[in-house]
Symmetry: C2
Subunit: 553 residues, 2 copies
């Protein structure tokens, strides 16, 4: 079954969104029978990938279609339960790569919620009108403010370890100690209590920000939302509708307007090409608004986002993604310039588009596929699109031209623009250029000094901006060997290698969640103590105890 | 088979150490037939745990017995090979917990080498007189300066991924990008080339610091050692001999002079008790030197170090360590004070003892066992010994006295001393107190304001210094439940939980290596692609290719 990430808000099955001026209320009310695949029921507001795909869509539409919103209340439509977390039967029945992919996507959506609070002026508030357990509490942890109803039964909990023998998979452990600063011994105790902690103790331990009696619940939630809805926001009328994304998909190709991918299972490769803009950008922000979601950067980013999710989820055996671009580098830089000139409250849209591109490139960074960028004549690796080459594990730039095929073409160039110098940071908080030249300030300064220059292969290689610069004679062989070789290596070891090399430098909540916590979670998921026939994940709900190999490793 | 970590330098099988004034030369020359267990030959200076146990002993004796040494040259006694890394057949035949334990210990030894350069005035130089591959190159990466002979055949390499389908297990990936600042795409290429990189390219890519022609090798190595031997060092005569450690071990108990452990396989528990000093400390540094390795802090630390290694390696099913102390808190603080007053070049010994305690407590932090501290009447959790309680996942302090058994005893206290405020940082660079109160400066300041105060249970709990403070009526049940419960959980999930909660806050090379890289390595080791019957680790050397499940996760 192929998972589809494009959703139509008119057909949400699990969520409601209500708008009241600057406050939006997002209500989770999962349809028990609306699971993505048969075999489990989404009871107690438990979720699967399908539920989270809708949530992701909500976060995107809040940003683009509802710029007037300044506070988002996340709550539940069920009685006495906020959210029971990821559906256990779904997890137990899923193959390992699906579990990992599911956790990755839900992590990205929660990071996106934090990013909305931090960078989009949309502050998320978790209004826990009932128990939030496991992934339900982790969802709350992504919000800026957590309110819990104080009714002697509602609690927050992370019951994964005691009940399932796995870790909370969506950043819970990291956010508890590193974001909310719960004391580590209390966190340890909390994470081994299936029933969790509620009432005043939950607030005293910093697991939630406040507990509120049920009698005062509605008015307090409303008050908090109003208090938090302080960021200056544009009018609703300025919103940009995200129209349905046109996409053609077959077994061996995926095609959008600007992005296409050729799927080659025999070689284990997806060949991805991104087209630059065909026209000049509008001359000002008003023109940008008029183009709305047809504006090249936004349209291209939506397509790339969908493609990454599609390939990750539906094509796990395509282990290498080859990245190409096609078009006029000057036009890419012109679009980038228009976006860079935005950023005032009136000009929320350029900033929002740039933020979306930032998150999409981060999605690429944490994708467990080898990324190889090919910089050839006719390509447009400039500014925002140069980030693709900088995100790649290796890049090849053709030196000179193709002597036989196309001797009169201009040689391939790359160009550093404003977009490479700040607006698109990685999860480690650094730009991809800074990460590339970590600890080598001289090389970084030299690269920055060459911004806006069209750099041919030799110059780019000399500056350390590309890995290799073979000429026409060597190109085909070098590239072919790099790609074939990648396909011959252990896919697990490649995932580990790439995860370690892509995030050198400082650590943040995000890198901890993707780099460390996910690795532990992966390990635990594969161990017989969790997923073996007698493991805790398989025994859950059977009334039988898991049979553990007690050796600590 | 029980692994023994105490070694007698007169019986080293794999190493030679030569002294020449301020320069020591450590030569690896493994005995092919000296493997720790039968079944493999230690060819090409490959190593197993036994080889690394000797290396660890060397690093310790260099610090304590040879304080005159200011530079350490690490080289090979074999022709054309520096070190081929961990022995593959040993790895392939080892159970998972042994592989992980082996990697952890070798990591600690390499971190100890970096610590000697940074904090003991003993700068390590890797003199690669032949190829250094895998763990051999990782050993070099722990040195401050790497020299490689330039002879058209010697190279450095990390062939684990292409040849074995696993990651370099001893910090290689982290040190390549985060310490040596090799550019990430070059690092990627390097780590997929089984033959590695040698000559000028190795230096240009920063994989080594210099390449030296064979004709100039000896004199250049000597010159570099002399140049680096600049730290002011005390006279050789001041060295402290590390005499053999007295230890009695049976199936259910381990006993040293100050440290003892009761082993309880039925409950999955090791009950560890550390005795404080019986006598007052010497009055000055001269008295400390005179006591040498019988000085309480040093003697106790050596015992604790050996116990941690013994339990970790030989008792993997004892998943919970219960930590107690016994003695006079005032005397512990008096020993701490004597150590704190050292630190000048003449007083190298107090600093060295404190550094050893620091490393031993770090060893405890990265030990994958649940740590529960019990603070009872008669205990001495003060200063350096309070660190044990702060290292624990949870601590219990008895409120009041034992009404029936011992009503006249003084209630248990804890005392914050100088040792808790700086000299014993964790791997994250913070003290255990700072980590405990991460993001809560007020609580940290309040705790620090109460230093030197004997804090009974209520006060300690109020300050957040202990987890729980049950009274005599509740004590037995609460402790019993905590310990029993721990033994009922998935050991894997506990390891993951503890690894995430113990290291909140900033990240360092060390936390990246233990927290992130190790988790990836654990995961990859357990996957069928590495250790399954058709995995790369099992197929190595058979001439057959591994059969990979190609799904990326």
């Amino acid at each position: 079954m192929s998972v589809e990430f494009r959703v139509d808000p008119a057909r949400y099955r699990h969520w409601r969104v209500d708008y009241d001026g600057p406050v939006a209320t997002v209500t989770m009310d999962t349809d028990e029978h609306g699971g993505l695949v048969p075999g489990y029921e989404l009871k107690l507001n438990s979720y699967d990938l399908g539920v989270d795909i809708e949530l992701y869509d909500i976060t995107q539409r809040l940003r683009f279609e509802h710029p007037e919103v300044a506070a988002v209340v996340l709550t539940s439509g069920k009685d006495k339960i906020f959210c029971a977390g990821a559906n256990i039967r779904m997890l137990a029945a899923s193959p390992h790569h699906h579990k990992v992919n599911f956790c990755k996507f839900t992590n990205e959506t929660r990071n996106g919620i934090e990013d909305a609070t931090a960078n989009s002026g949309q502050t998320w508030i978790a209004a826990l009108n009932g128990t939030a357990s496991g992934g339900g509490y982790e969802l709350a942890l992504a919000c800026e403010h957590i309110m819990l109803v104080d009714d002697r039964s509602s609690a927050v909990s992370l019951p994964e370890l005691p009940l399932l023998g796995v870790l909370p998979g969506t950043g819970g452990l990291t956010r508890v100690v590193d974001k909310r600063h719960v004391r580590r011994d209390l966190a340890d105790y909390f994470s081994t209590r299936p029933e969790g902690v509620g009432g005043k103790k939950a607030a005293a331990w910093r697991l939630v920000d406040e507990v509120v009696p049920r009698t005062a619940w509605d008015q307090t939630v409303t008050a908090r939302a109003r208090e938090r809805a302080t960021a200056p926001r544009p009018a609703k009328s300025q919103g940009v509708t995200l129209t349905p994304l046109a996409k053609e998909r077959s077994a061996d190709a995926i095609q959008y307007r600007y992005v296409k991918a050729k799927l080659d299972p025999a070689r284990g490769v997806a060949e991805i090409t991104i087209e630059g803009p065909q026209d000049d950008p509008p001359t000002d922000a008003a023109g940008l608004h008029a183009q709305g979601d047809q504006f090249w950067t936004l349209a291209m980013t939506r397509e790339l986002d969908d493609l990454i999710l599609d390939l990750r989820t539906n094509e796990p055996e395509l282990g290498t993604w080859v990245l190409r671009t096609q078009g006029d580098p000057e036009k890419v830089l012109a679009y980038d310039r228009l976006l860079s000139n935005g950023g005032t409250p009136e000009d929320w849209l350029p900033k929002e588009i740039t933020g979306y591109l930032k998150r999409t490139l981060k999605r690429l960074d944490v994708t467990s596929r080898s990324l190889i960028a090919l910089i050839e004549p006719g390509s447009c690796f400039a500014g925002s699109l140069l980030e693709l080459a900088l995100a790649a594990d290796r890049s090849f730039q053709l030196a000179g031209t193709r002597e036989e095929d196309d001797p009169d073409n201009e040689p391939a160039t790359i160009t550093i623009g404003q977009m490479n110098l700040g607006p698109l940071p990685m999860a480690n908080g650094l730009t991809r250029l800074q990460t590339r030249f970590l600890g080598d300030d001289k090389a970084l300064a030299e690269a920055e000094r060459n911004q806006q220059q069209k750099l041919e292969a030799e110059a780019a290689e000399h500056l350390g901006l590309v890995t290799f610069a073979p000429d026409d004679i060597d190109w085909a062989d070098e590239v072919r060997i790099a790609v074939e070789e990648r396909n011959s290596f252990s896919p697990d070891a490649l995932s580990g290698l790439e995860a370690n090399y892509r995030f050198a430098g400082p650590e943040t909540l995000e890198t901890k969640i993707f780099g460390r916590l996910s690795a532990w979670q992966n390990w635990i998921f594969t161990r017989p103590n969790a997923s073996g026939p007698d493991g805790a994940l398989r025994k859950f709900g059977t009334g039988q105890r898991a049979d553990f190999d007690r050796k600590r490793v």
